[in-house]
Symmetry: C2
């Protein structure tokens, strides 16, 4: 099935809110073997909505329209759609029933405006969720299936998975089987990766290779569309073997849901190891990144975020003389922080980070972006100095990625250098 | 000036990468008083690019086209544009010069394919950045200004600010002055906020009020377009006074760049206070959230991320009996964690968090989403139990927001209840 997505909202067209919901819907629809040819964002303007909707219906077998279904004054989708398709608005009894239930439950009456906004739907509409208000509906118009969805991410995502995909799949029994695989790489440029994978691009016409910088990583996606699931999977498996052979230690994660943190966690778990961390300029971002992976409590013990010098001394036992002589941002401080975190936690390994994320605080000697990362494990206490480019946010992200990548490489390859090369 | 944005890329249309760059560009263009009527995403398909570009040129005074300018095999924008506009591709001497410089610098030759991809631009193109390759260009076509930009966020953002906005502004001296203000609220539903602000919606035709859930907050934006900057600002100031009076303690931040963390920081700084934190299920997310605000080292001392029971005992002095009798997720443990963090850090106040973020680890007694938040400050040791809904990610975000909001409210209002109400 070939379709389009239209997202409605002044908050989207004015750039105040990023359109994440369309990406979610597109990803799910694409993975199920259907095709999205266009994603369009328009503001809360009846004329723009009309023009967009009519153009989409002309070119598509299905259209997802999100946003503008709620009770607030800027929610105008129902009226705009009725106008665009020349359909009358009629009261939907299921929605009215839900509103009455809610009135009884909360013991007060909704306004007439509220009731009208939610219950008057374009003629022919069937609600997606019999037990909800403003929960979306669908209708068939000139051969195209139109799905109207709330713009709230959680609700939209639920409907896409539970209602729309099963519907599209039942309508299109002939769709190809799509196999998909994503590799996440860190420490190589997109151009370099593309050049190294030139052979894959002419391998098989049903295999598509995509390259996407997702800061600070580059993701390589393999997509194969075939008549059977087995055939599609076979091509992906063969291409995956090529990628693994070419990039080896630069691959920080395999699979859309995997991350550098989850890969590192698997390495630690398989060795029966637990890690700890001591963070300064990243302020907890390493801990937050690590623990965003479910199950991380099995291999992550603690992160000690010591933003002040006093905290570094008290928490981690960094000596005041070290900070006095070498500075809080120095190899010596980083090493003592890592040793301290390991000693206190009794974890098998510890990472320490101290640096200058900016925008203030740099000096000629140690410009913004200067970060020292230390590892304490086995009999080793290792430290490297890095100079990361970019904004405060980018420097912090590069620091966390490099620190975790270094530990991962050490465990798997015994290599002492992380993917992002230190300055000395 | 009225324009559109077209973002090109299979990674965008398939939903693998979220289209953040168009939002950035739209926000900047909108704030400068111009209008974006449509944002369209298409894949790396010459036909789709052609159709989209022609439709956009027909309806617009300017079009921003991003993506597909690089040297890799899926970069096809230049060819697609030349084809769509029926313009020949001609060698751009400035780009060729840059490629030759790079060859000399790196001491090796670029491939012919690489050179051709980057240097052959549609006839009439002027490069935006004389010292770069694949750095974007612009041309005038049938009265419309077309700007072609790299899809890489950092590069696109630089060009929008430094090249495109000055160009649009110089072309349109008559554009209205736009004043904009954003309020960020936590603890009230979007519907409730909308109902409370009904009067603003009919106040003045040049004032627009928008409501946007940005989890876990709801943002209210005020936009006024007027002939003079003073008039626009006056309306915004008057409307802001209404919002402040209506929502008071529910306003966690004022201004697009402000955040709950920066608001809290101002409150702490003005009282000469420093805070510390002890985190369990949020794993450092509170520290990362707080320190994403530049200058937070002035008021944030440390966060101790104690994921394991042992870490809670060793780092924070939580007694093993407390954990044994009441559990690691309990009022008692939270209180001891907060007291411990405050004692160790000598900070004037401390927040502690312990809970079950899921998806595993819940029980009948303490289901997933159960979180205890404790505050230690002045002579108080306070604790509340919460039951947060949603996914692991949402529970962690609600926890951090509630914890910071509670401390903010305590400092400013003396109120003991955070915006998100505890279960008892």
């Amino acid at each position: 099935m070939k379709g389009q997505i239209i997202a409605i909202g002044d908050e989207l067209i004015s750039g105040r809110v990023v359109n994440t919901t369309s990406s979610f819907a597109a990803a799910r629809i694409f993975s199920a073997g259907h095709k999205i040819t266009r994603i369009t964002v328009v503001g809360d303007s009846p004329d723009d909505i009309k023009q967009c909707l009519k153009a989409a219906i002309r070119d598509s077998q299905f259209v997802l329209i999100s946003g503008g279904l709620g009770p607030t004054s800027d929610d105008i989708t129902n009226e705009a759609v009725a106008h665009a398709l020349d359909l009358p608005l009629v009261e939907n009894h299921q929605v009215m029933e839900q509103i009455r239930n809610a009135e009884r439950r909360f013991g007060h009456s909704a306004s007439e405006e509220f009731k009208r906004k939610l219950s008057m739907l374009p003629k022919g509409a069937s609600v997606l969720e019999p037990n909800g208000c403003a929960a979306g509906y669908w209708l068939k118009y000139q051969g195209a299936y139109l799905f109207f969805l709330p713009g709230v991410p959680e609700q939209l995502e639920k409907h896409v998975v539970q209602k729309i995909l099963p519907k599209l799949n039942s309508l299109d029994q002939e769709r190809p089987f799509v196999a998909l695989k994503v590799f996440k790489l860190f420490g190589l440029s997109e151009t370099r990766i593309n050049m190294d994978l030139e052979e894959l691009q002419t391998w098989d016409s049903s295999l598509k290779v995509g390259y996407y910088p997702v800061f600070p990583e580059v993701h390589v996606s393999l997509t194969a569309s075939m008549k059977t699931a087995e055939k599609a999977q076979k091509i992906i498996d063969d291409a995956s073997a090529v990628i693994r052979a070419k990039f080896q230690e630069f691959i920080v994660a395999e699979g859309q849901d995997a991350s550098l943190a989850s890969t590192l966690g698997e390495s630690l778990k398989s060795r029966g190891m637990v890690m700890a961390a001591a963070e300064s300029c990243t302020g907890g971002l390493l801990g937050a990144t690590v623990t965003s992976a479910p199950g991380s409590s099995e291999w992550f013990d603690r992160s000690i975020v010591t933003y002040s010098n006093r905290a570094k001394e008290q928490e981690l036992g960094v000596s005041p003389e070290t900070i006095e002589v070498h500075g809080a941002v120095s190899s010596e401080t980083a090493l003592e922080m890592a040793a301290g975190a390991r000693r206190i936690s009794s974890a098998e390994c510890a990472i320490a980070i101290t640096g200058i994320a900016g925008p203030e605080g740099g000096s000629g000697d140690k410009p913004v972006g200067t970060v020292f990362i230390a590892l304490a494990l086995d009999n080793h206490n290792l430290v490297h100095r890095f100079l990361f480019p970019g904004s405060r946010r980018e420097i912090r992200m590069l620091t966390v990625e490099t620190a975790l990548d270094w530990l991962r490489r050490y465990l798997v390859y015994g290599s002492l250098l992380p993917g992002y090369k230190p300055v000395f």
